[in-house]
C-alpha cells in the first residue's frame, strides 16, 4: 500500500495534503497498489473527503490524546500504520507538521527520507524523488536503499486531482498518552491570510520599497489579484517592522506560486533560492541590469512606486480577482 498522511483544517483536507494524496494515487496506479489516507486527531471528521482524491482506504487514529499535535505521538501513528498495513511508500505534505513528523517516523522505520520533493516516480517498484538542492542551483535525484520509502511533497507543486476511490474506512488504535512533547498553544499571526508557502499569487517587496509603510501599495495589488505579500531579507532586516514569516529565500520561506511579482528586489541567489520554483515570475525594477530579470517571464523596467499602483488599477479595470 501507498499511504499518505493527511491534515484536516476546519473539517476539510488541507490543500497540500490533497496534492500529496493525488500524487499518491498516481504512483499507486503505476505500481498497481492500493492507496491509503491516514488521519490523526481528536476528531477526524472530514476524512471521508479523501475518497475524492482516490483513497481506497481511509485510516483514522481518533483519540482525545491526539487533541494537540505531538511529534512522537504522531510519529507513532504513522509508523504503526506503515507496519500494520505493509506500506512501502509513505508520503506527507511538506507542511510544518509533515516536515516535523515524517523524518521521525522514517527513523523509527529505518527508512530513507526525501524532504520537500518536487517530483516523484516509481523505478523498479521503489520510490525515486527529485528535489532542489543548493538554493535551487541543482536538482538531486534521491533513490532509496530502504524497503520503506518516505517523502514529503512541496506544497503547490503537485496538482490536486479529483479521482474517486473506494474510501473504505478503518479506525486505528491511537497512542495512549504520556508523550515526550506536546503543542500547548497556537499563536496565530495577525493577518489570517494563507501562508506564503501555499499561496497561488505572491507580491514581494525588497529594499527598493524604501520603507515598511510603502508595503501598502503591495497589499493593494495583492488584494486586487488575490495574492499575499512577501519580502526579501533586505526588507525584513531593514527594521521596517516586517516579520520574518514574510521572508522569501534560502533563510526564509520556499514558495512555488503560480505567479510571483518581485518589486524592488535585485534577485540575489539567496532570494532566488526561495522563489525560482514559481511558475511565472514578474520583475519590476528600475535597474535594467538587475539579475532578477534573467529569471523573469515578464519584466518591467521602471519605478515601482509608479508601476505598482498602475497594476492595481489595470487589474481592477480588467475585472481580475472579482470572479
Amino acid at each position: 500500500m501507498i499511504l499518505v498522511f493527511c491534515e484536516l483544517k476546519d473539517g476539510q483536507i488541507r490543500k497540500p495534503s490533497a496534492e500529496a494524496l493525488s500524487e499518491g494515487r498516481r504512483l499507486a496506479d503505476v505500481v498497481g497498489k492500493p492507496l491509503g489516507a491516514l488521519f490523526a486527531g481528536a476528531s477526524c471528521a472530514g476524512s471521508a473527503e479523501a475518497a475524492k482524491y482516490g483513497a481506497d482506504v481511509i485510516l483514522t487514529a481518533e483519540s482525545p490524546t491526539l487533541t494537540s499535535y505531538s511529534s512522537d505521538a504522531y510519529a507513532t501513528v504513522l509508523a504503526d500504520a506503515v507496519k500494520a498495513k505493509g506500506v512501502t511508500v509513505l508520503l506527507a505534505a511538506a507542511t510544518a507538521i509533515g516536515k516535523d513528523v515524517a523524518p521521525r517516523a522514517a527513523a523509527r522505520l529505518g527508512a530513507g527520507y526525501a524532504s520537500d520533493v518536487t517530483a516523484l516516480s516509481m523505478v523498479d517498484g521503489k520510490l525515486q524523488a527529485i528535489r532542489p538542492v543548493y538554493a535551487g542551483k541543482a536538482f538531486a535525484t534521491t533513490s532509496f536503499a530502504s524497503s520503506v520509502q518516505v517523502a514529503t511533497t512541496r506544497p503547490n507543486v503537485f496538482p490536486a486531482v479529483e479521482k474517486a476511490g473506494a474510501g473504505a474506512t478503518e479506525a486505528l488504535t491511537a497512542p495512549a498518552g504520556d508523550f515526550k512533547s506536546v503543542v500547548k498553544e497556537i499563536l496565530a499571526k495577525a493577518s489570517g491570510k494563507v501562508d506564503l508557502s501555499e499561496a497561488n499569487v505572491i507580491v514581494s517587496g525588497g529594499r527598493g520599497m524604501k520603507d515598511g509603510a510603502n508595503f501598502k501599495i503591495l497589499e493593494d495589488l495583492a488584494d486586487a489579484i488575490g495574492g499575499v505579500v512577501g519580502a526579501s531579507r533586505a526588507a525584513v532586516d531593514a527594521g521596517w517592522g516586517l516579520p520574518h514569516s514574510m521572508q522569501v529565500g534560502q533563510t526564509g520561506k520556499v514558495v512555488s506560486p503560480t505567479l510571483y511579482i518581485a518589486c524592488g528586489i535585485s534577485g540575489a541567489i539567496q532570494h532566488i533560492a526561495g522563489m525560482s520554483g514559481s511558475k511565472f515570475i514578474v520583475a519590476i525594477n528600475k535597474d535594467p541590469e538587475a539579475p532578477i530579470f534573467k529569471l523573469a517571464n515578464y519584466g518591467i523596467v521602471g519605478d515601482l512606486f509608479e508601476v505598482v499602483p498602475e497594476l492595481t488599477k489595470a487589474a481592477k479595470a480588467l475585472g481580475i480577482g472579482s470572479n
Binding site: 535551487g136 541543482a138 520509502q149 520583475a283 489595470a314
Partner: protein, 249 residues
C-alpha cells in the same frame, strides 16, 4: 547541564555549483566551505545557556579534516570541547543521524541543538531522526527557547504563525533564524581556542536510507519579455499577458 551542538560544514551560498564527473556529486574544486548558518543560531543558544545558568557545551561535526574549521570556530565562540566524527558528513541524513546518536547515546546530554536544516541539502531531517534514535523529545524550527527543571518550552514557526511546544529534557531542538543574534568570535576566544584540541573519533558504521543517484543543473528558464511604454501602458500590457498568455487569472 550538558549540551551537544551539531554543526555541519556546507558550501557557501555564493558557490557556483558544478556537477562532478560521476554525475551525482558536487565538484568540490572551487567550493568555499562555511558553517551552516542555522547551526550558528544553535551554537549561540548553547553559549547563552552556558552564560546564563551554566552548562558544558560540546561542539560536534561529522565530516573530514576540513570540518575542523567549523569546530575551531565553535571553540573560539565559546564551546568547551569539540569532537570530529570522521565519516561522510555530506551523505544521507539518516546515516549521519545514526553516527551522532551512537556518539551521544550514553554521554548524558540534556539538550542537543541542531540547525533546523543544513544549508544546501535542506532536508530538515537530521534533528527529528536523531531525536527518534535517542528516544527523546524534539522541537523543530524554534525561534524562542526556555528551559525549566528537566523541561523545555519552545516557540516554533508554523504556517499560520507560531506554536508553543512543551516537553521533557533531554530533547533535540532545531534552531531557526530569529532564535538569537549570533556573536562574532573575540580575539581572546580565538587565542583560547588555539590551546584546545579537537577530539577525533571514527564515526560509527551507519546504514544509509537514501542516496543521491544523480545531480543535475536546473533547466534554463526561457528568455523573458520586457514590457515597453509608460507605466500605465506597461501595467495594462502585463495584466493582459498574465490573463491571456500565462492564464494566471
Amino acid at each position: 547541564m550538558k549540551i551537544l551542538v551539531a554543526l555541519k560544514q556546507v558550501p557557501d551560498t555564493e558557490t557556483k555549483i558544478k556537477v562532478a564527473a560521476d554525475g551525482r556529486s558536487l565538484d568540490p574544486a572551487d567550493v568555499k566551505w562555511i558553517t551552516s548558518p542555522y547551526d550558528e543560531y544553535a551554537l549561540e543558544e548553547a553559549i547563552r545557556i552556558k552564560e546564563g545558568r551554566g552548562a558544558e557545551v560540546v561542539a560536534l561535526s561529522v565530516g573530514g579534516d576540513s570540518a575542523k574549521d567549523v569546530l575551531k570556530n565553535a571553540l573560539a565562540l565559546g564551546a568547551d570541547t569539540a569532537v570530529l566524527l570522521k565519516g561522510d558528513g555530506q551523505g544521507d541524513a539518516f546515516a549521519v543521524a545514526q553516527m551522532i546518536a551512537a556518539y551521544a547515546k550514553d554521554k548524558g546530554f540534556d539538550l542537543i541543538l541542531c540547525g533546523n536544516k543544513g544549508l544546501g541539502g535542506d532536508n530538515a531531517a537530521l534533528g527529528p531522526m536523531l531525536a527518534e534514535l535517542l528516544g527523546v523529545a524534539q522541537a523543530n524550527v524554534i525561534v524562542k527557547l526556555e528551559l525549566g527543571d528537566g523541561t523545555f518550552k519552545a516557540e516554533r514557526e508554523i504556517e499560520s504563525g507560531s506554536e508553543i511546544v512543551e516537553g521533557a529534557l533531554p530533547a533535540v531542538i532545531t534552531a531557526q533564524k530569529g532564535l538569537n543574534e549570533p556573536r562574532y568570535a573575540s580575539l581572546k576566544g580565538i587565542m583560547a581556542a588555539k590551546k584546545k584540541t579537537i577530539e577525533e573519533l571514527d564515526a560509527a558504521p551507519a546504514v544509509a536510507g537514501s542516496l543521491i543517484s544523480a545531480l543535475a543543473l536546473p533547466p534554463e528558464r526561457p528568455a523573458g519579455r520586457k514590457l515597453e511604454g509608460d507605466s500605465a501602458t506597461q501595467a495594462m500590457a502585463l495584466i493582459q499577458a498574465l490573463k491571456d498568455e500565462a492564464k494566471v487569472f
